[in-house]
């Protein structure tokens, strides 16, 4: 399988489509990539015209970034998956690497990207009744008034 790649320091960067993700990660797992070291996301809505994508990959609003490590050969791989705004769903990697459990919950909590098949898709950092996803670029800093003094006076 030949996937679009981009150059990076000390790492291979792969750009699979969303429906190829599980297959690609399972392939890497068979190749000896024995740990998912990191899983995060980026919201590209405020960065139009980005040029760091290889040919054939159409940029979407969200990008889920998975970093894997191959301890024996000391190699790293990074997978960048485009996730559209209208349907922010990615298959969960939990069955391949259970260590992604908390990381996927964090991305779900802070970006609103759902992970299909995740065993516990609840919020992890924000309160359970929180409205919205704070790391999205359309959520501004400082919009919630905070009162530091005299909470009883009004």
């Amino acid at each position: 399988m030949s996937l679009p790649t981009t150059p990076a320091v000390r790492s291979t960067v792969l750009h699979p489509a969303r429906d190829e993700l599980l297959e690609v990660v399972a392939g890497l797992r068979n190749d000896g990539y024995d740990m998912v070291i990191d899983l995060t996301a980026v919201d590209y809505v405020a960065h139009p015209g980005r040029t760091d994508l290889p040919e054939g990959v159409v940029g979407e609003r969200f990008e889920v970034v998975v970093s894997l490590i191959h301890h024996r050969s000391r190699e790293r791989a990074r997978i960048r998956v485009q996730v559209p705004e209208e349907d922010p769903v990615v298959p969960s990697l939990f069955d391949l690497y259970p260590g992604t459990e908390a990381m996927e919950r964090e991305v779900h909590d802070l970006y609103g990207v759902a992970f299909e098949g995740h065993p516990d898709p609840t919020r992890i950092l924000m309160p359970e009744d929180w409205d919205g996803h704070p790391l999205r670029k359309d959520v501004a800093v400082g919009t919630i008034p905070v009162r530091f003094k005299n909470p009883t006076e009004r």
Binding site: V42, S67, H71, F94, P98, G99, P119
Partner: protein, 444 residues
């Protein structure tokens, strides 16, 4: 409370044969992780009142531990399902210290960034600054002068010493060895005193910055460092006399919180937790950054994967770090302590008084910040708790477009339900302590 002989026979100790390493199956099917909403938990906890909810004769209960429990190292909250004194399932609940530092990082310039990330892992702040600076330098494509590299390495290893000393202190406190708490803090204070002399602050230094370090080492730094190197090793020997052969201390740690290599790898655990299982992996040696390929040190690994191994590894790593510090002191090169690229580094003070351009330049760097070429980069260092990573995305502006920190404690906490399963509630404290989570880094 049962006596110790009874405890020996009833303690379930997971041998590597029993736990097949398929942590995936254990986590999803055996219910090693408590997956229960707070409403369900309150129904279950109050099950004694309503016979309809009392499915198991009142033997099981849900116990909430934290978030303000003294042994939770901050604000970690645990939900434990207990049968008698045995922990059946558990779930760490985090987020009580979430202050949106990754979001804050998007609003700060690259030069202000270290002040933000340094507050994440407050026990090892220099590592956060280092990994952030390395990611920025990787995007900028600039080199760091040798002296700055060696200063960074020297300071980071001292920081590892202070962080592991803090672990020894809190670990002792959690296990009831209160004298160890005093000793650990006393020695840590000596290291912090050196930090204060070099960086001006005991913690949250903002010392390692993109392009180098904030200031050169002050005159006479070797004298203070030699003093440190004389004080600490004999004190470590004292700790060993105090703890290693102490039957109560050994009893509370050996065979407690066992994890094997396959499980640790599956759960993305790094650092002393992974090395305690006998897995030989240390980024300083295996993916050398800074100048770690020019110094001699050993990677300490364990064999049993239990809480005692994690304690022993951290104690030995202090000695290895001091070895590196000693070599760094001897090999410290001369020269600049920061990159002299005009785009990144502000002009020296003397030039500002003479040159209008230098003044404007200085002003621009500190108000607008420097621009970083678009792209993405991931940098990783071996922090005292495991792999600390920084994923940076730049859109060409003076602020990071996205700044993500891969916090080792965040991933390591996932091993907690696994380590506690089947153990005693009294051992839960020893297990939390042996994972050594820093909640500022977990919640960010």
């Amino acid at each position: 409370m049962t006596d110790t002989t009874d405890r020996e026979t009833t303690r379930p100790v997971a041998t590597p044969e029993e736990s097949t390493g398929d942590a995936r199956v254990r986590r999803r099917d055996d219910g090693a992780v408590l997956r229960m909403s707070e409403a369900d938990a309150s129904v279950m906890a109050g099950g004694g009142d309503d016979p309809a909810n009392d499915v198991d004769g009142g033997q099981r209960m849900i116990l909430n531990m934290g978030p303000a429990h003294p042994s939770t190292h901050g604000v970690l909250r645990l939900m434990l399902e207990l049968e008698g004194e045995t922990v059946l399932r558990s779930k760490p609940v985090i987020g009580y210290l979430h202050t949106g530092m990754e979001k804050t990082g998007e609003g700060l310039t690259y030069l202000q960034g270290p002040t933000n990330v340094t507050r994440m892992d407050y026990a090892a702040p220099l590592f956060c600054e280092l990994v952030y600076s390395m990611a920025v330098e990787s995007l900028l494509g600039i080199d760091v002068p040798p002296r700055a590299t060696w200063i960074r390495m020297l300071m980071c290893e001292l920081n590892r010493v202070s962080s592991h000393l803090l672990f020894q202190a809190t670990n002792g406190m959690d296990l009831g060895a209160v004298s160890m708490m005093i000793f650990g803090w006393r020695e840590r204070e000596e290291v912090l005193r050196f930090f204060e002399m070099v960086t001006g602050l005991r913690m949250n230094h903002n010392y390692i910055r993109p392009g180098g370090v904030a200031a050169d080492l002050p005159d006479g730094w070797e004298v203070d460092l030699v003093r440190l190197l004389e004080i600490i090793p004999p004190r470590l020997d004292e700790y060993e006399v105090l703890l290693n052969n102490q039957p109560i201390f050994r009893d509370r740690l050996q065979g407690v919180g066992v994890i094997n290599t396959a499980e640790a790898l599956a759960l993305s655990a790094t650092g002393p937790i992974l090395r305690a299982t006998g897995y030989d992996w240390d980024l300083r040696r295996d993916e050398p950054y800074l100048a770690y390929d020019q110094v001699a040190f050993d990677v300490v690994v364990g064999a049993h994967g239990d809480a005692y191994d994690r304690y022993a590894i951290r104690l030995q790593e202090i000695r290895e770090s001091l070895k590196i510090v000693e070599q760094a002191m001897e090999l410290m090169p001369g020269g600049d302590y920061r990159n002299q690229d005009k785009k990144v580094t502000p002009p020296p003070r003397a030039r500002i008084n003479q040159s209008m351009e230098a003044l404007i330049h200085h002003f621009k760097i500190f108000t607008e910040g420097f621009h970083v070429p678009p792209g993405e980069a991931y940098a990783a260092v071996e922090s005292p708790r495991g792999e600390l990573g920084c994923y940076l995305v730049s859109d060409g502006g003076p602020n990071p477009y996205r700044m993500h920190i891969r916090a080792p404690s965040f991933a390591n906490l996932q091993t907690l339900p696994h380590l506690m399963e089947g153990g005693f509630i009294a051992d839960a404290v020893a297990v939390i302590s042996s994972v050594d989570p820093i909640m500022g880094e977990v919640d960010r």
